[in-house]
Every structure is written in C-alpha cells, then in structure tokens.
Amino acid sequence: MISNNTKAILLLKMKSLQDGSVDNLKPNEIRKIIDLLHQNKLYPEDLLLEDNIKVLNLIESKLSISASRISQLISQSIALSLNITKWSKLGIWVISIFDNAYYPLALKMKYRHKCPLILFGSGNKDILQKGGIGIVGSRDINYEEVDYTKLVAKKFANNNVVVITGGAKGADETAMKNALNHGGEVICILPAELNLKVLDSSNRRYIEEKKLVLICTENPEAKWTPGRAMARNKYIYLLSNGVLVVASGLKGGTWSGANECLEKGWTKVFAKPSNNPESGVLKLFESGALNHSELDIEELNLKLNYELLLIDEIAKLEQKSIKATKAMLTKKNIKYLDYQPKSTSRKKLDESKQKNLF
C-alpha cells in the first residue's frame, strides 16, 4: 500500500494530463512545501483532504505557488491510481521520505534535505535499512579484476554483508551476480528503466526470493540517459557503510563518484591497487581512499543500530543527555524514527559540518 503522503508527493510531481496544462512542481518547490507544512504541523497528505483550502492558501501566501495549480495537480488522483496499479502489477512499489519504516535512514541522515523525495523499487524493502558495502568499478574491467570482484562479492555474501551496486555492466553486474549466487543480499540502484529490469528473469528470480531489492529515483518508465547514470552513482555511496572500488580510470562514473564521496565524506572509500598506468586508484589514495586490505568486514558490518544513532543525534540537537532525550520521546509518545527536529535545530545541523556518521 502506498501511503497518502507518498501519493500527495507523486501528484505534485506528476505531469498534468489536461489540455492547457498546469506545470507540475519542481522537486525544490515540493521540498519548500514540505518544509512549510512541517513548520505548521501539517503533512502532504493534508492536501488530499476534501477540505484543503486552508492548506492551499497557506502555500499560496507563503511560497507564491498558486492554490489552483496545486489543486489541479492534486485532482489527478484517478490518473495516479491507474499508474500505481500499472506499477503494482509489475511488482513495483513507491515510498517517500515519509515512509520511515522503509526509506533508508542512511540516505536521509547523510543527504539531508537533498535526499530524493520518492523512491521506486521492487523487492524486499527490509534490506534497505540494513546498510552494506558498495562495490563499484568500470564497465570494462579485466579478467583479474573480474576474479577479484567475484571473490569479494562471495566473501561479503558469506559474511551476511549486503552488497550495494549500481546495476551497470562490468564490475556492478559481476558483484551483484556473485553475491546473489552465494546467497547474499543485494541493493541495486538503477539509473532508469525499472519497469524493464523487474521483468528481466535474472533479477526477477532473486526479487522473488527476497534477496534482491531494486531501487530507482526516476519514474519506472524513465529511459536510460548518461546523466541519469551519473546522478545515480552518489546513492551507492550514500547508502553504503563503505565502498570498495575494484577498478577506476581517471575519468568516468566510478572516478567521479569516488571523488565526490571522498570530498563530501559520506563514507569510507576503499580501493584495490592496480598496476595499470591508466588507473585512477593511486590518485584516489592521494585523496583519502584506503587500501582494500584495511577493509574490515566485521568492523563495517557492525549491526548498525540506527535507533541509537538517531537518539544520539536528537540528544545533540536538543542539547540533552541521551537518557533525558529518551524520556522526552517516551513521554511525548514519539517514535524515534518519526522524530522531526525543529526547523531551527535542523538548520543548525545543516550548517554544521557534515559529519561522517558511519
């Protein structure tokens, strides 16, 4: 079942189907709306209520997004439900940042207000919260690198470490296939074409066995483009407790993805040294990547207790002790995962340097 908050966001971003159509909302407009609603103790689902005029007026007055534009978008609920049915027939679900039980906490905590509002996916949603180790590499890896990728994927699988990949040819595909073959779990972040990938029998079987989860930030019908492939890379790092680069050139997706991560400090980057003079790995080491020999599976795969991490963070924001924070949350009957820091504290946190939480 798709939550009403998710439905509301989908409606706001859905193209208008009517003639003389209104413009759908851009992601940053939707984010502004969500923030505004949050400040007023409201949720996107309040837009779906029959009596939503106050909400619409609030948005119009504060953000200058016209009430009629939003209400026209919101009115396409049947078209949306027909889409949702189409997706659900393919085994595709939709979650949003409001679906706390499934939306990966790591993504929210590391990427904050930039995290994608909507995730489409297929397969076992429970894997999403487990974290894992990313395996990335070029499309055209050599035999030795293939063997190495197979070996580490198997090792992770045997140690119950979730493998996180981008589903591309080469390193991604090898890692995914071998982890799954050895009974491991895999999160695969696709740039596009989710509607085709779910039917691909090599994916489908593992989805059925609840070992594989495919996710995509684009609509399931979106076509592959180089831009979408590049945009997808960062999510591998954002979701992982550590990423292993099996091979990288001096340009291309792996190279830029690893550098971006090193720069932003989203997670530790490990890399396998290479003799190839065209390899970018040496440069990655210079930028702070660690030698793959330092990758300690047990350390990275410490069962992450998100709840504790979250309480820790809330405690810092509220400037209270952990014990006092717990008591406060219990008293207010707020579930840890549902806690939304006040906008001022959120701002404070955003301003403060991003800390590598993992």
Binding site: L17, I78, L82, K89, G91, G123, L199, R204, R205, E208
Partner: protein, 727 residues
C-alpha cells in the same frame, strides 16, 4: 434539504426531460425514479439502485446526466458561475444493452458508446469527442478499462472531471455475484479515487443481500440503497420436475402454440440450445438459437427478429442476458433449471414487462444437477492451474504467447484462459500481459484468497439447492423468488401454479414418440484433421506437415454425445459391463446405412476394422464384429496396439494426447483388402488423433477410404462439451 431554497426547479425540469426523452408529453415518472435522480444529482450521494429490469433505470442515468451537464443547474442551484462539468461515464457489460440505451438516451443528451464491434476510426472519433468534453455520456464495456491505450489517453486525462460515474449491472463487481467479471475489478480503483463530490450510481436488478453488502462495502458506508419491489405482477410462474429430455421436448412443443405470443427458451448449454431450436423448427415453430459461439452479427439479427415479432421463439443460453428488452415477451421457459434464483429471476424477468399476462415456466431435468455442479466447480480455476501457468512463465526468460502456454499445460485451454483473465485483473499479479495474449512473469507472488473462493463455491452450492427447492415448492413461487433476492414481500402473487391452477393447454398428439425419434437421429460429425501437429512425432516421423490425401481419414460419425441421457448412458454402462447393449448396434446400423447423410455415394462399406485396446481387449472388437455381421461384410483386425497408452481422456492438452499415441499402433499389411471403403470403429472419440493416426497408417498400407465411427463423442468433461457456454 429545503427545496424551497433553490431556484432550480428540479421536479419540473426533470419531468420535462423525461417527456422529451420518451417523446410523450403525458409521461410521468415511475415510482422511485425521481427520488433516485434527486439523490444522485441534488444530494450528490453514492447510490445503489436495486430495481427490476424494465423499471427504467436508464431514464435515471440520462436525466441525471442531462442535469449534471447543465450550467444553469450549477448557477441556480449551487451558485457556481461558469462551471463546466465533465462528461458522464457509464460502464456497462453487454452489447445488446448498450444498443438500446443509446437509442433512448439520444433524445435528450449527446450519447455515444465504445465497443468491440466498432471500427478503429469511429472509436477514436468517439474517444476524442469524449476527451474534448463534447459528449454528455459515454458508455463503455468493462473490458475497455483493461485497454492501456484507453486508460492512459482517454480515461486518465478526464477521470477526475467526470460528472457522474454509472456502473451498470453492478452485481458484476461483487465476487459474490453470480456473474463476477474480472474486468470489473478495475472499476474499484477508479471508485476508490473518485473525488468525494463526484456522484456515483450503481444499478442492478439481481442482487441478493450478500451482493448488496459487498457493493456497499466498496462504495462506502454512506451509500444510499434505493430498493424497488422486484415482483412482477404480470408473471404466472410455474415449475415442474420433468426428468426425461424426451418428455420435456414434447411438452414445450405442445404448449408453445397455445401461449399466443413470442418467448425465450433458456437452455444451459449451447448444444441443447441448438438441439431444442432444431426440434421446434421440425414442429413448425419459428425458432432460432442464440448463444456465445454465434457471430455478433448473427446474434444481433436474432435479437432484432425477436423484437420485431418475426420469430416465435429464441432458444438461448445465458448469453442472451442482461438488458435484452422486449416489452411484450409472452413467455420464458427454462428447459433446464438455472444455477440460482438470481440467474432465474434475471432471465424470467424478461417476460411480461409491458403486457398483462406472461408465463415463466421452469423445468428441472435429470441432467441439470450434473451440469450445474460442473458450472459451480469450474467457475474458478483450481489453484493447480494458476500454479502451473506461473511455473511455466517463471522458467521462461522471455515473454510467452498464450498458445504456447496452453500447449505446455496439460489442462483444458478454457481453464487457462479463465485463469489468465483473473490473473490479469489482479492489482499485484504474478504474470502480466505485456501485449495482447503475450504474457510474462513479474516478481509478484500469487495472492488469491482461497478460503474466499471456497466460501463462494459453498454459497453457490447453497443457491443451487435453493433453486431445486423452488421447483418443488408448495407455496407461492413469486414470494420465494423475491425473498431470495432480498425483497421481503410476504403476500402471495395469486397467479403462480401454487396459488391457482395455470391455464396452459397441452396439445395432445404423439409428440413423445416424435421427440424420441428426433433425439435418436442426432449424430455428430467427426471432422478429419488437416495438419499433423508440430513438433513432429518421434516414432511416426513420416506423419508430418499437412495431412496428405493418401493419409487422410474421411468425415466420420459419432452416435451420440457421451452426455446423452439415453445412448451416452448405454455407452458408459457398456464400458463397465464389458459389453455394449444391442440397442447401440441398432442405432449404429441406422447411421451407417444412412448414406444420404453420411458417406454420400453409391458404394457401401467393404470391410470393418476397429481401434484396438490393450486393457479392454474384446469390448470394441466384439462390437465391431457384430456390426460387420449385420452389414454382412468381413471384420478384419488389421490394427494392433504395440504400446500401452493412458486413456486419452486423462490427457488434457493436445500435446500430451499426441505424445501418448506416438508409436502406439501398427498395421498388418497382409490383412488389408486392396480396395473398398473401410469402417473404422471405436467406442469414444475425443480429440480425434487416434482416428487420424490409424487412418493414415491404414491408407499408407494400401487401404481404401477410411470412415471413422464412434459410439460416443466426448469433449472435456463427461457432461460438458465444447458447446457449453463459458459464462
């Protein structure tokens, strides 16, 4: 609501629309019509209308649509200026119904329909005027909702602007309904997402309490149920147990000339409909069959002829169903008792709509129990069939077409079609139709509530028990029927055969004997196959491609359907007793000697042979020998069985049947006479492959033309053959 507050004069305006629609300045609303319009239009409620057919539900839709499309209404009633309400949409399941509706409605509103019989051009014209808001009301069949093009390009853009959603024959929505259609499932997701202000009206004439509750659940708690009285005062109901088919045929032929009017006879199967129609024709009654195997054009033609009083009788299966409206239909006779009171009420309710007296006669035959049990049992394909389909698609890396699925499953193809249709309607389906009749596995798992399926089956069994009770009732039939449909009337009708004697004259002639001869004469052609099946046999390698002239069998004959109440039974008894009754020989000889109707040339048969069997070694040869003796020609056992096979009836798909037969027979060339027609005898014919192979083997070894003959023909189940109505 205080009506005085509104300047929009509802009643007057509605009445003027009614009069214009009916082209009658004196017309008045029937009881309940105006209330329904007020609830829908003025109060914007979700309404479920339970009214008997012919009450005038369509007038409610048309007038509601008319007012809802009137800008004056919004200005005067709701103080909304320049409101441009969207078009109304009606979902209705049957062609015949749609034709009538369009005709009546077009007097007051712009109304059009989309159905499968239209050309692509006229379809797209209708669609575009719907999208452009140039239509007041569009009627579509529920199948349309499973067409991706329609959904994405026509429905989605306008769905939230729809002025009124009409769900006709709404009992189809309920899986408790007797007529559940998977396509109707799609309506649910539209209803769930309708803007709260959009009025919704669902109508049905045939729903019991359970169905109504189910619909109520789906539409929401605030749904208003408007119930009319279901009893039809013009109808004289009568019910009778009449086991023998012969007696029933004689009975209907004897009463119909005295009923003074045209009517419908309902039969449970297509074959019965054809047979009864033929019988009535032989008795000088102008009758025509009507069933699902006929072409749309032919069906429409029969409907029109009945409407124009050019026919005395239409012998129909349930295919002549919802919405057929002939105001002066004099009688509805059920040659076989239908499955439930809902079925019965719906069908008998076609009689006496606009005349003072009409008859509803229901006969219970000995075969009805078996046929209805089969219907109930097979209404929903078994879990195994779903699993089989899913399994086959799951193993495939590529999409698979429906043909291949049927080929690979060892189950009757009709069950596969039904299962796929159900799967296609599920929101989260394990298989998906990626293009027409091409299927692919999705990551979803099968999610069917089997307890519910079982519960529904139990309900249906109970409903059939009720129907038998109806036949042998000693109290008022109309009261019983109305009560079963949720109408709580208690007052006896005073007209049915339990309330007062019924005035039907039986012409007393020798009709029983005539009917008996008629039934005995019916025999069934066994058509020769034209192609060997792909892939080729492993052992009979030379039998491949098209069946050549020197391999081909001639058209054969079967004495009866195995389901035949007389001969069919004798055949089954013969198989149990290992000897066929002499009556079967007499009947067989009649057919074999009937050169005009079968092997139409001067020559008689030269010799007789038979299909050998390893388990019942002597049964068929003994019979064939007796036939040969009577024909005074030699019986030669020229065919031998060299491989044990499973009975063909156990093999459900052609693929398995064929593999079962590969290399099973051998022909002794030395025994075959050089020329002359051969009579090839077997007891039961099913797919016809046994005959096809043996005939080819005989012909290739030098035999003359081979004419297959079987005692009985079986298709699918013992009772149910290919002529049976599927829904």
């Amino acid at each position: 609501m205080n009506e005085g507050l509104f300047s929009y004069r509802f009643k007057e305006i509605a009445l003027s629309h009614l009069r214009k629609a009916l082209n009658n300045p004196e017309a008045q609303f029937k009881e309940g019509q105006l209330d329904a319009i007020l609830s829908i239009v003025r109060d914007r409620k979700r309404v479920l209308l339970v009214q008997k057919t012919g009450w005038g539900k369509s007038m409610v839709y048309f007038i509601s649509s008319k007012i809802l499309r009137d800008p004056d209404y919004y200005r005067l009633h709701l103080n909304q200026e320049n409101k441009s309400p969207g078009p109304c949409l009606m979902i209705s399941p049957l062609l015949s119904l749609m034709r009538n509706q369009v005709h009546y409605g077009s007097n007051i509103i712009k109304i059009d329909r989309i159905d499968s019989s239209q050309s692509i051009k006229s379809k797209s014209e209708t669609e575009s005027s719907f999208i452009k808001n140039n239509l007041d009301l569009l009627i579509v069949a529920p199948e349309r909702l499973s067409n991706p093009d329609f959904v994405e390009n026509v429905l989605a853009p306008i769905a939230n602007k729809i002025g009124l959603l009409i769900v006709d024959e709404a009992h189809c929505i309920s899986d408790w309904g007797h007529d559940f259609r998977p396509d109707y499932m799609r309506i649910n997701s539209i209803i769930d997402n309708l803007p709260p202000q959009t009025p919704l009206v669902a109508t049905t004439a045939t729903a019991n309490d359970r169905v109504i509750n189910d619909i109520h659940d789906r539409f929401g708690d605030e749904t208003e149920i408007l119930r009319g009285e279901l009893g039809r005062s013009s109808l004289k109901l009568m019910a009778k147990i009449m086991s023998s088919e012969t007696e029933r045929l004689a009975y209907i032929a004897s009463i119909i000339p005295n009923l003074r009017g045209s009517g419908i006879i309902y039969a449970l199967t297509i074959r019965n409909a054809e047979k009864i129609s033929l019988w009535l024709q032989k008795n000088g009654i102008n009758a025509k069959p009507y069933h699902a195997s006929m072409k749309d054009d032919d069906r429409i033609n029969v409907e029109n002829k009945l409407l124009d009083d050019e026919l005395d009788v239409v012998v129909a299966t349930s295919a002549l169903g919802m919405g057929f409206d002939k105001p002066n239909l004099k009688f509805v006779i059920h040659f076989q008792t239908p499955q439930s009171a809902v079925h019965y009420y719906q069908q008998v309710g076609r009689a006496g709509r606009n005349i003072k007296d009409a008859y509803g006669i229901c006969l219970l035959g000995q075969e009805d129990e078996e046929i209805n049990s089969f219907f109930i049992e097979n209404a929903f394909p078994s879990k195994n069939i779903f699993e089989l389909i899913i399994n086959i698609l799951s193993k495939s890396d590529k999409p698979m077409n429906e043909h291949t699925i049927k080929y690979l499953c060892n189950v009757p193809p009709g069950q596969i079609e039904k299962a796929l249709k159900i799967l296609d309607s599920l929101d989260s389906s394990p298989v998906i139709q990626i293009e027409k009749r091409v299927w692919q596995k999705t990551p979803n798992t099968l999610n069917i509530d089997w307890n519910k399926v079982e519960q529904i089956k139990k309900t249906r069994i109970k409903e059939w028990e009720d129907m038998k009770e109806y036949i042998s009732l000693s109290s008022c039939h109309m009261v019983y029927l109305s009560n079963k449909l949720g109408d709580k009337i208690i007052e006896s009708c005073g007209k049915c055969n339990n309330c007062s004697p019924i005035d039907i004259q039986e012409t007393n002639t020798d009709l029983i004997q005539k009917a008996s001869i008629f039934l005995n004469k019916l025999n069934i052609p066994i058509m020769p196959r034209k192609l060997w099946m792909k892939p080729d046999f492993n052992i009979y390698k030379h039998l491949s491609g098209s069946i050549k002239d020197n391999e081909k069998a001639m058209e054969g004959r079967a004495l009866c359907h195995l389901s035949d109440m007389y001969f069919g039974k004798l055949v089954l008894e013969g198989k149990t007793n290992s000897e066929f009754d002499d009556k079967l020989i007499d009947a067989a000889i009649k057919i074999i000697n009937d050169k005009n109707r079968w092997h139409d040339n001067e020559n008689s048969f030269s010799w007789v042979t038979c299909v050998p069997s390893l388990n019942k070694k002597r049964l068929v040869p003994d019979f064939a020998k007796k036939v040969a003796l009577r024909l005074k020609i030699p019986f030669i056992e020229a065919v031998h069985k060299i491989k044990e096979t499973k009975p063909q009836k156990m093999m459900n798909s052609s693929k398995f049947k064929k593999e079962n037969l590969d290399g099973a027979f051998d022909v002794n060339k030395d025994l075959i006479p050089n020329s002359g027609k051969v009579l090839l005898i077997d007891d039961i014919v099913e797919s016809g492959w046994t005959y096809t192979i043996i005939s080819a083997l005989l012909r290739l070894e030098g035999a003359g033309d081979v004419y297959p003959f079987a005692l009985a023909y079986r298709k699918g189940d013992a009772v149910i053959d290919k002529y049976i109505e599927n829904d």
